[in-house]
Structures are given as structure tokens and as C-alpha cells.
Symmetry: C2
Subunit: 294 residues, 2 copies
Amino acid sequence: MNLKEYLAARVQAVDAALERWVPAETVPPQTIHRAMRYSLFAGGKRIRPVLCIGAAEAVASAYSGIEDAACTLEMIHTYSLIHDDLPALDNDDLRRGRPTNHVVFGDAMAILAGDSLLTLAFEVLSKLPHANDAVKASLIKELATASGTVGGMIGGQVHDIEGERQTPTAALLESIHRAKTGALLRASVRMGAIYAGASADQLAALSSYGEHTGLAFQIVDDILDVEQSSETLGKTAGKDQAQQKITFPAVYGLDQSKRMAAQERQAAHDALTPFGDSAAPLREIADFIVNRNA
Amino acid sequence: MNLKEYLAARVQAVDAALERWVPAETVPPQTIHRAMRYSLFAGGKRIRPVLCIGAAEAVASAYSGIEDAACTLEMIHTYSLIHDDLPALDNDDLRRGRPTNHVVFGDAMAILAGDSLLTLAFEVLSKLPHANDAVKASLIKELATASGTVGGMIGGQVHDIEGERQTPTAALLESIHRAKTGALLRASVRMGAIYAGASADQLAALSSYGEHTGLAFQIVDDILDVEQSSETLGKTAGKDQAQQKITFPAVYGLDQSKRMAAQERQAAHDALTPFGDSAAPLREIADFIVNRNA
């Protein structure tokens, strides 16, 4: 398979879904829709929606409308970036190579744009045109739990903020990242599997894939923050160290961190064994996540 | 019926549901759960959950577990207050007679506490123990739409912020309030009706009740901001005029505003005619909303 073509086709489908579900800039109140779209269409890699679609493809051959479910993951991810970048939180003014949402629209509108994307994600899942009510409820449970305070994304952010004042241990590091980025990446894979009607065994195997891929993603993210320039990353590099964040390089050093990323990639591959060829895209995505340079 | 006893029993059931669904302050990360609970258990009147339960009672005699659905309305309402009070938005430091969330926990935690309550509302609806999947999906659609940008709560907030710079006209006033507070109050009633299995006719009648009650609520809110002290309201009085907000007294004057509130109350009563005695609580709640002094 050609990963570049594969990703381009999936990203196009996800972007088309976002285009359909997010109100146009001409719909009043216009400012909020402009702010939502500014960050949503800022050239994100759409890793979470692509993982969702890849998981559906691993499970079944029919998963019509999966891009509608997948695009809600990008709404949640984007809302978290907008709020994270606010002056009250990470105070970052560069994201994906452009000024952050609050720099362009002001803090008030950035807060409301994040709230709106979070709300819209659940509205879309409740209205999925090609899913039955049991699947809708199940997807909403997955997404809400993974985004929440107990083992989910917000919980990880709080741990992260509080971790700046704590001793960086391996246990603290893992619990932060399992929640902060891991939970949503795992949910991305699980939502695709559920959408496509996965069995309990298939869901367990894909959850394992999602966990290992998620950890690999975060380790590489931490490494890139040390090794790459702000220009390459499209966001401020070297921030973790400046803010004394707990990172894999800080706890394990760069070399050991790279070995750990490779191990997680291998464990992700192992979890896919039962799926054979239908999981080829998921294997390539795990490799892509580990080998990326931005 | 005795309204005071009626309300006390419903509020107790809703508070018990909130107590069950919101993680305890001892669950890590503790700070965020403390922040969520601080604003959630600050002595709110629980008007939205009570409207939800009252609507279910008007429709049917069996609606087991309605308090689980009803309490999500208080989560959404409370999240909106926490974010609204932030320095970047209304910059208010007094709410329900106590320092606002960000004054106690800081802006970062207040933003995340609001995000968490918003997320938890949908998690709870996806896990309702006594509702089938069709009802869950329908309730989530109602709540998300009423909270969103197009005719919903966030849309109203944006209109309100932008309205500070516009000429106060009757049309602008109505569109702001229909979205800002009206949509969630209407959804409160509709969610109770849907939970209890309302027919299309019943849902339409109760929607009309919700719209008129919601408008009455907002008119009275605007009047109280002019006539009452901060001490009585438990929040800063006279802010609307100071911030040049578009209000009913500003557009119509106090006397005409009071007449309008009475008319909306009457229209709310009229909508309940088909329900007879089972809607007695909803009638009393409409009266209570119009006659309150805080």
C-alpha cells in the first residue's frame, strides 16, 4: 500500500465531513463559526480520525459514514488545543505554524470556540446518519469518558499542570500521558471498531494497538520537542524543558526514549496479528507516528 | 400542592444524582473534582432539572431514573456560569453569594472545570441506567443542540458579547435571549417529556410551555438586575446597565417588562391545558419563576 495516498484519501473524507457538520462562516453568529473553523482547518494531520477509520477497515468491509464519527475526534482534539494554548494555561501563541486561536479572536471567543467544538462533537454523534442508536450511545460513552477527568484527557491536563511542581518519576510520567494523549488515541481506534461492529476479541486487540500507538506517539512528541526547531514543528519547540514538564527524555534520556518508542511500535504491530492484511493501514500508521519529524 | 415541599423533594433527588455521577473530591486529580463540585453544589435553585422532572410527571406516571437525566442540565448550566464569570468574559467575582470558581481555583482550573462538567453531562446521558438507546440518543441531541452555537446557549452568549456594541432593538433582544437562556430551559422541559415517552402532540405543547417560561424567566432576570441588591441576588446587581447589555427594561422600560412577564406566564399556563392535573407542578413553577425576588 501507498501510505501517502491512503492518508490523503482519508483526510479528504474527514475534512469533507467537518465541512458538512461545522456551520459555515456565513451562519450567525459568524464570529464563533470563524473561530471554530480557523483552528479546525489549520492543516492538522487528522491522526485520530485516520486511526478511527483504519480500525473500522481492520474489522469489516462495510462502515458507511465512518467519517462522520471520525471527525468528532478532531473536534475534541482541536477544542483541547485551543483551550490548552490560552494564556491561563500554556500561553502559547504559535500552533501549526499560525497564531493561536486567542491571538486572532481574543480569549473570550477562544474559550467559547473550544466549548462549541466540544459540544458539537456530541451533537454530531447523536445525529449520525448511518449508525443505530446503540452504536451512537456507545460511541458517545467512549468519547466522553476518554475526554473526561478520570483517566481521560482533562485528567491528564490537570496532572500535567500539577506535575510541573512534582518530582519527575516514571510512574507519574506514564499516568499523565496515558490520560492526556493516550485515552483519546485509544478511543479513536475503539470508536472505529465499534462503528464497524467489532467482536469483544477484536475490540480488545484494537484497544491494545491503540494504547501502544498512543504511548509511542507521546514519546516521539516529547523527543521532537527536544530535537526539532519551532519552524519544523509549527509550534514552539523546547517548551517542555522551559516549563519543567515531565517528559520521556527528562526521565529516561533521549536514547532510551527512542528505544521505548520502537518497542511500543512493535507491541502495536503484535496486537494486530489476528487481523492479517485488513490491518495493513494501521501498521503503517504506527510506523508513520514513530518515524515522523513534526 | 405545596410548591416548597415539591421543590425540596425534587432538588434532593437531583443533588443525590449529582453526588453519584460527579467524582468525589478524593478521586485524583483531586483539584478538578473539587473545582467542579464547588460550583455545582453552591446552592443553585436547580430550575432546569426541576422543569425536566415536572415535564416527565405531566406526561406519564412512570419515569424511573429521571433525576439522572435531569442532573445533566445542571452540569451544563453550571459549566456555562463558570466560563461566563471568567475575566476574559464577564469578569465577575461573585456568584450565588460566594467567590466565583476562578477566584478560588485560578483561571486554568476554572476553564478545565467547565470543560469537565460539559463533557460529563454527555457521559452521564450515554450511561443512563433506566433509558433505552433511542432515548439516550434523543436526549443527547436535545442537550447538545440547545447548548450549541446555532440558536443555542453559546450562540446567545456570542450575540450577547457582540450586542454590547449594537443598538438595542426588540428583535435583537429576543434573538439573544431565545438562544442564551431560552434554548436550555426549553430543552429541560423537552428532555423530561422525551424521557417519559411523550407523544408528538405532548412534546409540542410542552415545548411551547418551555419557550414561554424561558422568556418569562429572562424578563424577570433582567428586572431583578435593576431592582434588587447584590446581596439579595447573590451576584453583582446592576451589571447589565454598567456593561450596556441589551435587556428587557432597557428596550421596553420596567412597567412594560413586568406586563410582558405576566403575559408569558399566562401563555405558559395555556400550553398546559391538555395535561390537566398532572401539570399542576409545571404551572406552579411558571408562577414561581415570575414571582421570585432573586
